[in-house]
């Protein structure tokens, strides 16, 4: 009764919910039981957000706890640090290394955290420059799908299943860009040490 737990975290509006939906549909299509838990409402307005997807032969709780996450996919580096303690020992940490500064930093009330990427690297983070790859794919908004491409390396799901789910879920005009984004994410990961 092994359950795999994936946490996607970022800033409200970065597309974590859509990415989680893709992953959940893929896991479901693969034949696993799936639970996905997300938070809507006020935090979606630019706040700190996370979405959890759990899959396996049987899944009970839709939420997770510190130390229990197998794969943490961070859409932003400050949010990666905020949740790094959720990753279990030996778990995988994938980070889009761009930082979106929170408002208290933008207004000069608080100092911006420094050296995050160095700490994350020390923790074994795999960096995927999702923003740049999304632009390369033809849609800056496809960074979430780039990260799913990276995540897909090391998960057992069939690539064709991913592609079918993506094509059926994203806006029709963006299907090609998103499929390219997925592929670029995969390639970026294969260049790195993704299969842990």
């Amino acid at each position: 009764m092994t359950v795999t737990t994936v946490m996607l975290c970022g800033v409200g509006g970065q597309g974590t919910i859509l990415a989680a939906d893709l992953l959940a549909k893929v896991a479901s299509g693969h034949g696993y039981a799936v639970k996905l838990s997300e938070v809507h409402g006020m935090s979606q307005r630019g706040g700190s957000v996370d979405t959890v997807v759990k899959f396996g032969t049987q899944v009970h709780s839709p939420v997770t706890d510190p130390g229990m996450v197998d794969h943490l996919v961070a859409f932003e580096s400050i949010e990666a640090m905020r949740r790094i303690h959720y990753v279990r020992p030996g778990g995988r940490l994938m980070v889009n290394p761009s930082a979106i500064q929170p408002l208290p930093v933008l207004t000069g009330d608080l100092a911006a955290p420094t050296g995050l990427n160095a700490i994350l690297a020390e923790e074994g983070a795999i960096f995927i420059d999702a923003d740049e790859l999304a632009c390369e794919a033809g849609s800056p908004k496809s960074a979430n799908v780039v990260l799913m491409g990276a995540l897909s390396v090391g998960l057992e799901f069939d690539q064709e299943l991913w592609r079918t789910v993506i094509a059926g879920r994203v806006p029709p005009k963006t299907v090609e860009a998103n499929l390219r984004a997925f592929e670029l994410g995969r390639q970026a990961c294969q260049r790195g040490e993704c299969e842990r």
Partner: protein
């Protein structure tokens, strides 16, 4: 049978549809909103947003009286608004099945309080179903309609945020034939709740609850699972799933019906385990009920408020903690914020500068309370801003500062009109700002009476807000475009200086409704004097370069609303060019 990945909200909507409900009505509120939206898209149903939950439940009562099956949706605090019809509908009972989804928000992700709706079920004596995942959400909703009609009573379905907003696979069924209610017959003994009839219905409610009591003892909705009997845990809703994950070997009594409670079953379960615990979140509803039955119950050291997780249950049971990396607690917080180009921003900027006492309300604009706008004194409930502004003006302690109520369009339609009527009626003064952004924004862009957009896109007409406010007797009413900062400042200065009650309608669409974004702006480094005026707007596209102290604009976020251009006295904010990109700046 097909299977689909559905959220709890979607599954409840699907369950209502499969049960043959033909009407859905509600008011948006996180985490309940998607239920009615999903229902409205299913075939052969009528669905509408009501201006508030009380009206929604009254519409549903009419549907039920006429013999139709109806689903009502709201968040937990919405049931406070609907409490008046709710309590009496327990007396009248139903004709067509009437099922109310009430979605609680333990942990207060998007709410002003954490009230536990199970108390409402016990208080009004209305049966309550608590599904623990999407499969049960669908199945329980179907059974709720059957029970509602069989026992002549409205039924509550309690969801929580982790039910409403978690998705899992659900087997979809066919829709049962929509029942023909037959011709309508007047039945005052059942529906006219004046004292003579209400007294009889009160006694009838006792009988109905008694029969439900017997039913719930044997209902498969309540399930004992005996494993290791050294510990037995009573739980319901998502807490059951947390318990199963945290302690798969322990025995559980899973309650799918949390009102009425199966006393005999509880007693039996308690007798078969060595130690009895309850795991529940938000309130100790089950623990209190079980103790009041005289059943001995031990207490797990779980937090009395907020959400429960498998980890918190493991800790409470003193299971060893997983190996943990230390959390980084030094990071700057990331509170939610108003979007770039939000029309609310200039209003709060002006209110802060006017040193106003601002009674706030529920919506995106509540974010005006946060830094750097910091221009809100209170936020209590839907519509509270107007009554509280009037009340604050009666004391005389704030006479040197203007008193201003701030309320959104949907919130004004929900509960603001009566408050404003009260202020007019009692000769109150002060200024009411109606921030009309043409949509119910925070819950994800629903229609409301002030924009005339209906849930199923039927033709409608929008309320003429200016005429409504004037008709209430407000002597001073004006409409201002909030994107013009000088006009906002002047309007607030003039209206707060006036001795009479005034209303300013700030009208501009939500930034997320504006499809044609303007060209982005940037900061001319030579002209920027580092005064920080633009940064005090709190726009997420504007930041302070920590090395140079100059302002910088993120062109990828800027929507070209020109609000910051207007606060810059040095004409330093110009159409962007190379070098203005945020990413080139050093923010660290």
């Amino acid at each position: 049978m097909t299977s689909s990945l559905l959220s709890g909200n979607e599954a409840i909507a699907r369950g209502a549809w499969e049960a043959g409900a033909t009407v859905g009505v509600g008011y948006p509120g996180t985490p309940s909103t998607e239920t009615l939206q999903y229902f409205s898209e299913l075939p052969d149903v009528y669905a509408e947003w009501a201006p508030n939950e009380k009206v929604a439940l009254e519409v549903a009562a009419g549907v039920s009286m006429a013999g139709g099956r109806v689903l009502v949706t709201m968040k937990h605090v919405g049931l406070n608004v609907a409490a008046d019809p709710f309590f009496t509908l327990a007396y009248t009972g139903v004709r067509g099945g009437l099922v109310i989804l009430v979605a609680d928000d333990p942990g207060m992700h998007s709410s002003q309080n954490e009230q536990d709706s199970r108390n409402y079920a016990a208080f009004a004596r209305v049966p309550m179903f608590e599904p623990s995942d999407s499969t049960e959400a669908l199945e329980f909703t179907k059974q709720a309609f059957e029970l509602s009609e069989a026992h002549d009573i409205p039924v509550l379905i309690r969801s929580t945020v982790r039910i409403s907003h978690s998705k899992s696979q659900v087997a979809l069924g066919e829709r049962s034939a929509v029942r023909d209610p037959g011709s309508y017959k007047t039945d005052p003994a059942k529906w006219v709740m004046m004292p003579a009839m209400a007294k009889a219905r009160r006694l009838d409610l006792d009988r109905r609850i008694q029969s439900l009591q017997a039913l719930c003892e044997a209902s498969p909705l309540n399930r004992t699972e005996y494993r290791d009997t050294s510990i037995g845990i009573v739980c319901s809703g998502v807490c059951y799933e947390h318990v199963r994950e945290a302690a798969p070997d322990l025995s559980t009594l899973k309650l799918g019906l949390t009102f009425p409670l199966p006393e005999t079953l509880l007693r039996d379960f308690a007798s078969k385990v060595d130690v009895l615990y309850v795991v529940e979140e938000a309130d100790a509803y089950l623990a209190r009920s079980i103790r009041s039955m005289g059943i001995e119950l031990d207490t797990l050291p779980l937090a009395p408020s907020g959400e429960i997780s498998p980890g918190s249950i493991r800790s409470a049971l003193r299971y060893p903690d997983p190996e943990l990396r230390e959390a980084d607690t030094t990071l700057p917080p990331r509170p939610p914020l108003m979007c770039p180009g939000c029309p609310h921003r200039p209003v709060f900027d002006a209110l802060r500068k006017a040193n106003a006492v601002v009674t706030g309300d529920i919506g995106c604009y509540t974010l005006g309370a946060l830094k750097p706008l910091s221009a809100m004194d209170s936020c209590v409930d839907m519509g509270a801003s107007i009554g509280m502004a009037h009340g604050a003006s009666l004391v005389g302690s704030v006479t040197e500062r203007p008193i201003v109520a701030v309320i959104g369009d949907s919130t004004f339609a929900h509960s603001g009109v009566t408050g404003l009527m009260n202020t007019v009626y009692n000769g109150g003064t002060g200024t009411v700002l109606i921030l009309d952004n043409r949509i119910t924004a925070m819950t994800g862009h629903q229609g409301n009476p002030l924009n005339g957009i209906t849930l199923q896109e039927r033709s409608s007409r929008e309320v003429d807000l200016e005429t409504l406010v004037r008709a209430l007797g407000v002597p001073r009413v004006r409409v201002v475009n909030p994107h013009g900062l000088a006009a906002v400042r002047v309007a607030i200065a003039e209206e707060t200086a006036a001795e009479e009650l005034s209303v300013i309608i700030f009208r501009a669409p939500c930034a997320l409704l504006v499809r044609d974004k303007g060209d982005p702006y940037g900061v001319d480094e030579d002209l920027c004097t580092k005064c920080g005026a633009c940064i005090k707007l709190g726009c997420p596209a504007i930041g302070k370069d920590h090395l140079t102290s100059r302002a910088v604009i993120d062109v990828s976020l800027c929507v070209g609303c020109r609000q910051c251009v207007q606060v810059c006295k040095y004409d330093a904010i110009v159409h962007s060019g190379p070098g203005c990109d945020f990413k080139g700046a050093d923010l660290s």
